[in-house]
Amino acid sequence: MKISVGPISCFWERSKVFEFYAALEDAPVDIVYLGETICSKRRQLALNDWLDIAEQLSAAGKEVVLSTLTLLEAESELASLRHIAENSRFAVEANDMSAVHMLTNRHSFIAGPHINTYNAETLNLLYELGAKRWVAPVELGREVIRELQLSRPLGMETEVIAFGHLPLAFSARCYTARAHNRPKDSCDFICLDYPDGLPLFTLEKKPFLILNGIQTQSAQTQNLITLLDELEDLEIDVIRIMPQTQDLASIAGIFRRTLDGEMQPEAALQALESYQAYGFCSGYWYGKEGMAWIHASGKASE
């Protein structure tokens, strides 16, 4: 199985983005997804900056994919998308049907986690339109993925989010701005203050969600580290780790060593404890509520 790094979901200072990817050059990851997928107002980097990073990672031996916005409304957003879709150098991850439309029969592309691929017919359709890989939407559990693996077109790769906060919802409304009593149109880029998102707690002070501008993520970190054997059995091609400010190369290293049999899953799970703030979850994988943390033994715990 290959290891990928998903696109940075929160808003980071320009220098931090460059540092993050420089550190990934020697990290044990195979595929890197680059670009802004959440908010078109986040422009610390221009497309040319992303392409520079892409070239460097490519020179370091990584497969690079340019990822794209999930919620597109304005013509300017479609124009930016077209620039990315028309690049002839790197593959593109589509997160909206507008991107699929632009990429159809042009380039092979990746159907991202926000393309609703829930059945074999949709998977086959995407393949016919030019998709070479699909990323399972967060809601799909192992039984559904097992079925889809049996009917996937020859050559279509399957990717699963194995570690990170889950992307749960998108809205026109910016929740980070709302939490600061600011309208979206004068947000003053408040998201820059929250490089790992803004946590939301229930009235019982339990961590529940992460606000990331117009996106809502799980507070809990999805973690499939103890299920890698099962993922291999299902012939999953790629496992995705979502970026966070803490040392991503170390997280990838734990996954790599576990995949290579150099680290036991239980030890890896222990090691990953230092890379989460609000606990783990894995419920979706078992076809249950996503927030549940179900250990490999199949028993639910808190």
Partner: protein
């Protein structure tokens, strides 16, 4: 005004369908009782026989009937979804409202004459996404997600090769429809997977000395002081803590109501105004249909001089979630 938009009303059962037809709906949308639609609630929806009766009743009065089949069927649900498509054709429904691309492909191959509407659950928020569904599947109409501003709706109507339907009244989804997994994160079921949001089976109430607490699974959604009326715990309408503030961090319990901007919507060329609420009672359907019928007719007669009648607002607020209303994303500052 030349553009006479359709008033599209929901019906969860035959009495509600009759209420919609009798009170001025131009079209009614319904779902089958097989889990294939986004209001998969106990005791709701139509058998094929009830659908046939509903179609007869509506058609005799010049009203069209649409079938909503707007979940994303997973492999185990595929046959049910296909049967629902087949039944839609056999019953002679006027249109099928779909979200799933795989199902659309099945329809185009099997029933090329079937009129397809793109469900709000398909998350098509821009011209290129709508073009995709038009080119691939020949959709005739798009239902726009409730995330676009009025200006964006007006622009889109001019640019897309299909009719545009927008939401006019009802409970407000603040997330892009089809792109929200909050409900399954907490309960295991969502609109995409099971046609439900914040399902009743996951609701728990706890009575405490300080009042009543509502939960979805183990997630506290709201606390009500003793004596205060408690609302259904819809996930995104709860109170939460962000930083030091406790507030409705996502959205207040409120309903969408477009009466204020009805002339703008009608003049923009929107072809249909949709009412949310297949889960609601027949008296809700009757009230909302009657009021929107009166408003649309008044607006068509005199768009320049149109002012929403205070009675209309009062009547709609009475049946609205939270007894109040908002323009939602149509009004840019809301965003």
């Amino acid at each position: 005004m030349n553009n006479k938009p359709e008033l599209v009303c929901p019906a969860g059962n035959l009495p509600a369908l009759r209420a919609a037809v009798d009170n001025g709906a131009d079209a009614v949308y319904i779902g089958f009782r097989d889990g294939s639609n986004a209001r998969n609630f106990p005791g709701l929806n139509f058998s094929h026989e009830e659908a046939r009766q509903g179609i007869d009743y509506a058609r005799a009065r010049g009203v069209r009937v649409f079938l909503a089949l707007n979940i994303y069927p997973q492999p185990a649900q595929w046959k049910t979804a296909v049967r629902a498509v087949d039944a839609t054709v056999e019953l002679g429904m006027d249109a099928l409202i779909l979200a799933d691309p795989g199902l659309m492909r099945y329809c185009v191959r099997t029933y090329p004459e079937l009129r397809l509407h793109l469900s709000v659950q398909a998350s098509a928020t821009n011209r290129q996404a709508i073009d995709f569904y038009h080119k691939q599947f020949g959709i005739k109409r798009v239902v726009l997600p409730r995330v676009l501003s009025l200006a964006q709706v007006q622009q889109l109507v001019k640019k897309v090769p299909v009719d545009v339907e927008v939401f006019g009244f009802g409970s407000l989804c603040v997330m892009v429809e089809g792109r929200c997994a909050l409900s399954s994160y907490v309960t295991g079921d969502s609109p995409n997977t099971a046609g439900v949001c914040s399902p009743a089976r996951a609701v728990r109430w706890k009575e405490t000395a300080s009042g009543r607490h509502s939960y979805l699974n183990e997630v506290l959604i709201e606390r009500y002081p003793a004596g205060e009326a408690a609302a259904y715990p819809t996930l995104c309408k709860g109170r939460f803590q962000v930083g030091n503030n406790v507030f409705h961090a996502i959205e207040e319990p409120t309903s969408l109501n477009v009466l204020e901007i009805l002339p703008d919507l009608l003049m923009s060329g929107v072809k249909a105004i949709k009412v949310e609420g297949r889960q609601r009672s027949k008296s809700y359907i009757a009230q909302v249909t009657r009021t929107l019928r009166a408003a649309i007719d008044a607006c068509l007669e005199d768009p320049e001089g149109f002012i929403p009648h205070p009675d209309w607002i009062t009547q709609l607020n009475r049946v609205a979630e939270g007894n109040c209303h908002t323009l939602g994303a149509y009004h840019r500052p809301w965003q």
